[in-house]
């Protein structure tokens, strides 16, 4: 027993990730935490997307289940689990059964290397970014096999579209990522593919890579930001599941629990690619201005943000509690909303405790940046009309790919400018 406690304690004193320290106990804890956090994030995204889209279209969105529809995702989840699970008679049952699992496995496995903080990752791999791109590219297989196994026309067309689309945009995505990896090699520690290493290179070089070699970093970020929307099959690139043309695309024949697996995978893949973008261009877990506003005072100021955010959410809850209808039928909902506000406020207060504060700041800034991307996804969906398939291919192959290639060459040239200049002088004046 004592040895076990010591085993648990020994990790807390080290400054490594659980995988790096080889601590199985803490690795398990982290995996469970990440899984739980992701599930909560997907539930929250479900509610937020419907609410924000509704407000963008001057609607109310879900209002009936719980105050302001807060319990709607839970109601939906229960509905999905209780629904009849249908496998079409003509479907290839085995492949039909496996496909959702491939998608979910691919979407969740990538989080093994996502760095929520310098030590807050399940593990740090030498090939981190390669691992993320590779494993997330496996989810195409799930989508393609799902569409094929349904043995029906709409899913098959959806699957064909998605495989063509995802393979095309992976190329542009890869080029943008390579330009960032070139940038990491300019620092004092040399190039790296590790997710934690990339963020530390940004800290060492004193700027986020989105601002590096302006506008090269920005262009790379834009290429990735467009390609990642196409990779996750979201509007305006949601052709694989275009509901006006293909009913629901590759998952038309899926129902109940299997359909909810696709849903879960789509949202966790969105979070995964957003966290790649945040790690590579937006400084990962680094708070704003880690070098310009350094020092213990600023550290303290920025570490108060998580608590303040939760307190603000609590205040919003209380404000809406006061605005609830005074009819007796709404009494339970009013009390529930007030209770939710109290819970949020308590979480906020806990986040002010120094010991918690220090450990949570990194995760907060990472989550805040990823949250901004999630909002962008919803915003795109509310704003842009869907692309036609030939337009989609044109954007991928004729715009993003050449831009990516030029960007890669320019990044290499600018990065090696002093060495190149010295070389040229050596040639001209022997």
């Amino acid at each position: 027993m004592h040895g076990f406690l010591q085993y648990i304690q020994s990790y807390l004193d080290s400054d490594k990730t659980p995988g790096g320290a080889g601590n199985i106990f803490w690795a398990t804890v982290y995996i469970l935490l990440v899984f739980a956090g992701l599930s909560v994030a997907v539930i929250a995204m479900n509610w937020l997307e419907r609410k924000i889209l509704a407000h963008m279209q001057v609607r109310l969105g879900p209002m009936r289940v719980g105050p302001h529809g807060l319990l709607q995702p839970i109601a939906d989840a229960i509905k999905l689990l209780l629904k009849e699970d249908i496998i079409p008679a003509e479907a290839d049952a085995l492949v039909f059964w496996i496909a959702p699992f491939i998608v979910v496995l691919a979407a969740f496995t990538v989080f093994v290397v996502v760095p929520f903080g310098p030590t807050h990752a399940i593990t740090d791999m030498n090939i981190g970014i390669l691992f993320m791109l590779g494993v997330s590219s496996l989810s195409v297989l799930g989508i393609v096999t799902a569409g094929w196994a349904s043995n029906s026309h709409y899913p098959l067309i959806g699957a064909l579209r998605s495989s063509a689309q995802m393979v095309s945009y992976e190329v542009a995505m890869g080029l943008a990522v390579v330009s960032v990896i070139l940038m990491t090699s300019l620092g004092p520690e040399g190039g790296t593919l590790s997710m934690i290493g990339i963020v530390q290179a940004q800290l060492a070089q004193g700027e986020w890579f989105i601002f590096k070699f302006f506008p090269l970093g920005l262009v790379g970020f834009f290429i990735f930001a467009i390609a990642m929307v196409a990779e996750t099959n979201r509007a305006p690139f949601d052709l694989p599941e275009a509901e006006s043309e293909l009913t629901a695309g590759f998952h038309t024949e899926y129902s109940g629990f299997r359909w909810s697996l696709f849903f879960l995978a789509e949202y966790s893949a969105m979070i995964a690619v957003s966290s790649i973008a945040v790690t590579l261009w937006l400084g990962g877990w680094l708070r704003p201005f880690p070098n310009a506003l350094a020092g213990p005072t600023w550290d303290l100021v920025f570490s108060l943000f998580p608590g303040i955010t939760f307190l603000l959410l609590a205040v919003m809850c209380f404000y809406n509690t006061a605005r609830m209808p005074k009819h007796p039928l709404f009494r339970v909902q009013t009390i529930g909303l007030a209770g939710f506000g109290v819970v949020l406020g308590l979480i906020g207060l806990i986040l002010f405790i120094p010991a918690v504060r220090v450990r949570v700041t990194d995760i907060y800034w990472f989550a805040a940046k990823v949250g901004a991307f999630m909002y962008l996804y919803i915003w795109y969906r509310g704003t842009f009309p869907r692309y036609r398939f030939d337009q989609l291919m044109k954007v991928g192959w004729k715009v993003l790919l050449p831009t990516g290639l030029v960007l890669l060459i320019l990044t290499a040239l600018v990065g090696m400018r002093t060495e190149l200049w010295a070389e040229l002088q050596g040639v001209w004046r022997p």
Binding site: L130, G134, W148
Partner: protein, 177 residues
């Protein structure tokens, strides 16, 4: 310290998965099932690369083969009518020659592993290991470094070959360019 991950257990597990996948590829009549078995085999192979302390190769294996090439395979296979393909007669009936060739190749592998010349076995006793953090860099400098880079020419020739294949495919597929 930490126990090493590259234990015999994992080797046998991955090797068994690979062989099972390979056998399924050639025995399944349904082409999509074959392709999925091939993906399994390729992923197990990536695992074997990891056991050889070559994480970069493993990552590239997953991206290129499992994520890229196999998706294109499936893309093409899905357009074929599976029902018709299943009923079609398999045109390759050369079991005997196949078994002899496979046996010869296996024998050759065993011969390489066991032959000794001047008291030394032909098979390398150890393998070159780099620290986990330097693996990618080591590949990079083997390919491109001025001093140590010995494979640059071969690498560029290989990429030229692929380029020629791409252009050839476009020329053959397009009637009017």
């Amino acid at each position: 310290m930490n126990p090493p991950v590259a234990t015999p257990f994992f080797f046998y597990l991955l090797a068994a998965t690979m062989i099972a996948g390979g056998v399924l590829v050639i025995t399944r009549k349904n082409a999509v099932h074959s392709a999925m078995a091939l993906i399994t085999a390729l992923l197990a192979q990536a695992g074997l690369y990891l056991m050889l302390y070559a994480p970069f190769v493993a990552g590239v294996q997953i991206i290129l083969y499992a994520g890229g090439i196999m998706v294109l395979f499936l893309f093409v296979i899905m357009l074929i009518s599976i029902e018709r393909a299943e009923k079609e007669r398999q045109f390759n009936k050369q079991w005997l020659v196949g078994i002899v060739a496979a046996g010869a190749l296996g024998g050759l592998f065993i011969a390489v592993y066991t032959t000794t010349t001047k008291g030394k076995i032909l098979f390398p006793e150890g393998r070159m290991t780099y620290g986990e953090t330097q693996n990618t860099q080591a590949i990079g400098s083997l390919l491109f470094d001025r001093g140590a880079g010995q494979y640059m020419f071969a690498f560029e020739i290989a990429s030229l070959l692929l380029l020629v294949a791409i252009i050839g495919a476009v020329v053959m597929a397009k009637k009017r360019i």
